[in-house]
Amino acid sequence: MTTTADQTATAATRYVPEEPGFWSRLAYRWPVKLVILAIVIIWVIPTVGVLISSFRPQDAVNSTGWWTVFANLGSNEWTFSNYTDVLSSEGFGNAFLNSLSVTIPATVIPITIAAFAAYGFAWMEFPGRQWLFVLVVALLVIPIQMSLIPLLRLYTTIDLNGTFPALWLAHTGFGLPLAVYLLRNYIGSLPSSMMESASIDGATHFETFTRLVVPLSVPVLASFAIFQFLWVWNDLLVALVFLGGEADVRVVTLALNNLNGSRGEAWHLLTAGAFITMALPLAVFLSLQRYFVRGLTAGSVKG
């Protein structure tokens, strides 16, 4: 690296913004490209290994490393049977639908409730408006671990353990502080002249909210929706505690965890199961990358 630094130093002393001579550009660019390529390869290899293994027959997965497929590209056998096995006999098909049933309401409910609250905090007058909002922000610090034991007891008394509503409500509660906070910041920064003219035109708060504020807030709502969707989909802890691993209700993360526990060396199944678990988040990532980045970066402080 020292040579690179020296090269660029000489280039910089006779600094020409448009054309840093051919040789210095070459000397400067190639090491950078190589380092980046190396990091990218290291980052991608783990996932590639899983993907390749999930399409190899059981015998092949267990007898040779997945990287050997590159040595004899023509003579490899490929199969979908790992996926059909995992989806049917290991219950990942059901788990995938269960995950959807958990995740969709657990995403939409907190956003709806938080958007109403954010509008109320930003544009309505009531006693305690400021300190109630400060309280909501303060709740950001409470880690989920603080809620597990009392909520489990509460759920036990009302017989809610092991049901989807248990998870919908829990994820709603856990997601609310961040959602209210972020949406309040966004909705509060909409121009007040707009709100006033809506009010002069006779719009009620409810109409202002649904016809004006919600359409204007689509980007922030989408970002938070994606963040919350991924958070719930990828969650293991909350599902483990309130839903449990029974076959009829378990979600993909629990199914994968159970498979890992019961058949920890069945790599042909584990790799396929892992990929089924990842497929939807990765699809979301690839198609909605812009919103995804903003949602994740904003939501990364979630408790």
Partner: protein, 389 residues
């Protein structure tokens, strides 16, 4: 604007911080009935919603229900149900005499959120704190015994030691690699930069469980004489002529092998935020430094780093918070055995495996205390940024 911890990109630059729309209302003030109605509308939405969810989730969608139907009903309830409840509440409020409706209406909007926060965060936090002062069965009062045990019991001490290690190593590595990658990829063409960044960021979409399986495969070990190594690391290691190693059993190094997984997941986050920070450093500042004779190395350390320091702090604190709460990775990889337990994982183990409610609660309180200062720092930074806009 130095980073993107907020949804600021779409926002127009509005100096007005926002505030209540002043509705000219000169009627009588709130009275006792008003307060009752306020509480009523706040509680009504969550309560009715709970009733419907309970009915939908347990009666209609029992174990034998068709899975596609389950998804469908969940979708309908999630998308329309809650909104319809708010609509109904607003309708009811509008039918009240205005002397009540005026005061009650805001609570139609904020009430449900406040009630849910109370039930799912505030109330449990208080109960957990109380439990942390009680014995294993959550009955007799034992004072701070649980906290003393945390710092004396060898099992929890090990979890504490490991968590501290995680908190030092993971953020340091994630931020260093993320920063290096952000700086280097900045020097590529815009297309190369975007593509290479998405590869690094991609693991962030993967669940901790999924990532753990991915890396268990990497660390896979077979004793010599039991066939070829199928784990990549042992494949390389054995290929170099060494005896294969059971990586996850090597105390204390196995802790670091687990940390690698979280670094793999978090570098993308650090990289994206730091990259936005680096790009916000004005070009003329960099040019001025170069014209003054600074080399790229000096530009990086003496211009870029000081200018993105606030962003660096946010990224570090955010990752530290994530690290304190890491549970899934340890749970899936080793179940906290072989000297790898961490606080958040130990909390679950104490409670669910050992049935020790008091100690589990005390560990949760410990996590809360560890996180509070970091979160305060982050929120304060966020507010400063909002104020600057």
């Amino acid at each position: 604007m130095t980073d993107r911890t907020s949804f600021d990109a779409e926002q127009t630059d509005v100096s007005d911080p926002g505030g209540p729309v002043s509705v000219p209302y000169k009627g009588p003030g709130p009275n006792f009935t008003t307060q009752l109605l306020r509480i009523g509308v706040s509680v009504a939405v969550p309560l009715i919603a709970f009733g419907i969810l309970y009915w939908a989730g347990t009666v209609v969608l029992d174990e034998n229900a068709n899975r596609v139907l389950v998804v469908f009903v969940a979708l309908i309830i999630g998308v329309f149900g809650v909104f319809a409840l708010f609509y109904a509440m607003d309708w009811v409020t509008n039918r009240m005499p205005e002397r009540y409706a005026h005061y009650v209406r805001p609570f139609v909007f904020v009430g449900p959120a406040l009630v849910l926060l109370g039930v799912f965060l505030l109330y449990p936090a208080v109960v957990t704190f109380r439990l942390s002062l009680q014995d294993a069965n959550g009955e007799g009062f034992v004072g701070i015994d649980n906290y003393i045990e945390i710092f004396t019991d060898s099992g929890t001490l090990e979890a504490l030691r490991n968590s501290v290690l995680w908190v030092i190593v993971v953020p340091a590595l994630a931020v260093s690699i993320g920063l290096a990658f952000a700086v280097l990829s900045d020097k590529l063409g815009s297309k190369g930069e975007a593509i290479s960044k998405s590869f690094i960021f991609m693991p962030m979409a993967i669940s901790f469980v999924g990532a753990s399986i991915v890396w268990r495969f990497i660390y896979n070990f077979r004793p010599e004489g039991f066939g070829d190594q199928i784990g990549l690391l042992n494949g390389i290691w054995a290929g170099l002529g060494n005896a294969p190693v059971a990586w996850l059993l090597q105390e204390p190094w196995n802790n670091f092998y687990l940390m690698v997984i979280l670094v793999w997941l978090q570098v993308g986050f650090a990289m994206v935020i730091l990259s936005a920070g680096i790009k916000s450093v004005p070009d003329d500042v960099l040019e001025a430094a170069r014209i003054d004779g600074a080399n790229e190395f000096q530009v990086f350390w003496q211009v870029i780093i000081p200018m993105i320091a606030p962003t660096l702090v946010v990224v570090l604190t955010t990752i530290v918070i994530t690290v304190w709460k890491v549970f899934d990775i340890v749970f899936v990889m080793t179940s906290g055995e072989f000297g790898t337990s961490v606080v958040a994982e130990r909390m679950v183990t104490e409670f669910f495996t050992f049935g020790n409610e008091g100690r589990g609660a005390a560990l949760a309180v410990f996590l809360l205390i560890a996180i509070i200062p970091l979160m305060v720092l982050n929120v304060r930074r966020f507010r400063e940024q909002e104020a600057q806009r």
